[in-house]
């Protein structure tokens, strides 16, 4: 298999250099850009398999670059954001970015996220989704954990279904609310975090240390296979 091509967009030369070295060491084919304009030109000339995108660029906003890329490229976008950028992070995710890491990030974390976004296919159409010991049967609307049936309320099931169909993908609160409660959110939608806590009590061994249903602070939730994450 030829190595995946990753476009790294950041205006800090030190970060660009560190990422280029490490990503090459990890076997990726790396291209870099320091401005929004360069990034779009490079992506057009040599379509990347994935983009690592800083949110703050000298000639524009990273979220706008993401939105522009999304118009003609399906390559997954991994956003780099600084602490305190929560609003911009959400905006970037809503503009089509697939995931994010917060600066300062660990290289392990960045590589794991990059692998995950590259591996992820389009949402599965298989009616039975197995994630670790968790099996979600969309046709029978039944859930089992390690072979044992799990009883869920209708909202809890919808929540789990949506997360399972997007295994590994970060789903923002608005995405979840739109999907589970519909375009006009119901009044219970304020209680998303409570639904998640209840769902965790049913599918996690230790709800305070979730292995399947992870919280991304200030952004949303993702459902992961415990054996595939935490590299």
């Amino acid at each position: 298999m030829t190595s995946a091509r990753v476009l790294v967009v950041d205006d800090e030369p030190q970060i660009l250099r560190a990422l280029r070295t490490t990503l090459r060491g990890a076997g990726y084919d790396v291209a870099t850009a320091a401005t929004a304009e360069d990034a779009l030109a490079e992506a057009a000339a040599h379509p990347p398999d994935a983009v690592i995108l800083d949110l703050v660029l000298p000639d524009g906003h990273g979220a706008d670059v993401g939105r522009e890329l999304r118009r003609w490229s399906a390559a997954p976008i991994l956003v780099l954001s600084a602490v305190g950028d929560e609003q911009e992070k959400i905006a970037a995710l809503d503009a089509g970015a697939d995931d994010y890491v917060t600066k300062p990030f660990s290289m392990d974390e960045l590589l794991a996220r990059l692998r995950a976004v590259l591996r992820r296919a389009s949402p599965t159409t298989d009616p039975v989704i197995a994630i670790g010991d968790l099996v979600v049967d969309l046709e029978k609307r039944a859930v089992t954990l390690g072979g044992q049936p799990v009883t869920l309320t209708p909202h809890e099931f919808e929540l789990l279904r949506f997360l399972a169909q997007n295994e590994g993908k970060l789903l923002t609160h608005p995405m979840i609310l739109r999907e589970v409660w519909g375009p006009r959110y119901g009044s219970e939608s304020h209680y998303l975090h409570v639904y998640v806590s209840q769902l965790r009590r049913k599918i996690e061994d230790d709800p305070a240390r979730p292995r399947y249903l992870l919280t991304e602070p200030g952004a949303g939730y993702r459902l992961v296979d415990p054996l595939l994450t935490r590299s």
Binding site: P104, Y191, H193, Y195, S197, T215
Partner: protein, 466 residues
Amino acid sequence: MRANSSERRDPKQQLAALATSLALVAAVTGVVFAVRSFAPVLSLGVLYLLAVVPVAVLFGLAWAITISIVSMLTFNFFFLAPVHTLELRDSANWFALAVYLVTAVVVSELATRLRRRASEAAERELEAKLLASVATTLLEADHVQNRLKDVSAQVADAFRLADAHIELGSLRSAEPGERAVDLRLGDSFVGRLYFPAAEELPAVAEERTLPALASILAVAVERERLSRAALDAEALRRSDTIKTAVLRAVSHDLRSPLTAIRAAGEGLERADLQLDHEARGELVETITGEAARLERLVTNLLDLSRLEAGAASPRPELWTADDLIGGALETLGAAAARVIVRLPDEPVATVVDGAQAERVLVNLLENAAKFSSADETIDVGASVEAGELLMRVRDRGPGIPPRQAGRIFDAFESSSRGTGMGLGLAIATGFAQANGGRVWFEPADGGGAVFVFALPAARLPAKVRS
């Protein structure tokens, strides 16, 4: 407070005065006609005062004098010989009529004066009421500007204006259809009162009420300026103290990881050093470990400066204790393995900024990890007591001597027990308070320390559980 409205040249009013006067004079004439056989006619002239006095009270001195003369002529015409003429036969009658006229005028003057006094008293009462209510409104105000609308409404009400508004320090000239009156205190300009051009201010307003109003407004504005200045001075003093402490702390706590990173990096770089695989690994570990320590310090400093600047405005959302504690354990890293969590059977929730609440818990957990040995467990529990969600973090370290317990929440209070800038607890308290919560310390049974993070508990509707 419309004092002289009755004396204004209002045609309707004038017509009423004329009709009333004529009716009264006619009535008295009738009475005199009826009783003239019982008393000397000349002595009955005084009865016309019964017409003059009410007119004086109701319509003022000018009308009273007119009616005095008219009634004198009427008396002469109907009752003094030769009757039905305005001539007089007897010189004694001249004298009687003159006495009557003088009496009528004097009585009228007295009556009008009395009336003016009464209306002045009413005016002063209204004025006092207005000023008192304005003063009360402004005293209650945290911001004079916010209450100007209320004050303007009170003024409009008292002056019976359809509309009025006050602009502080405004030099805007009146727009078409509008009139403006300056509010001044001595020579200094306070603001302007605007009202519809078609309306009139009461006569006393400009000379008495408005200056009083201006002085109340000026006092309120000054009071606000002074309290803001005092707040600014306090904030400045605090930020100065913080800056000094930050500089002191930065010089030590930031330099030591930097020194370690630099030494390890340079060691790796030098070709002449004989480093085996293990030694290289150690140097690399130093760099990553110290970088992580620097990161925590920088995060803490940034948090603190945001808190001190009042910039850490919370974005409250409904969160469960599960989520907050889970998030904190995630952030805590390696030390999370020592933590034992006890959650209630049903999720308990609070409305809080998730990231900030997590920060509080992380700092409490880091504190617990720092002050107890690595093989001891840390307990975290959540419960709802008396409407509060309490999250308790308990360590099994040596605890905190009572002497120190009061100061541990101050920024840069270096503990005798360990390293670090002591920022963690100050930040925890800051974020807790910004979210309407509290953090306090309790000694633990059997040694160790318990830190409690309390937030108002949220009530969950039953349907969420179904």
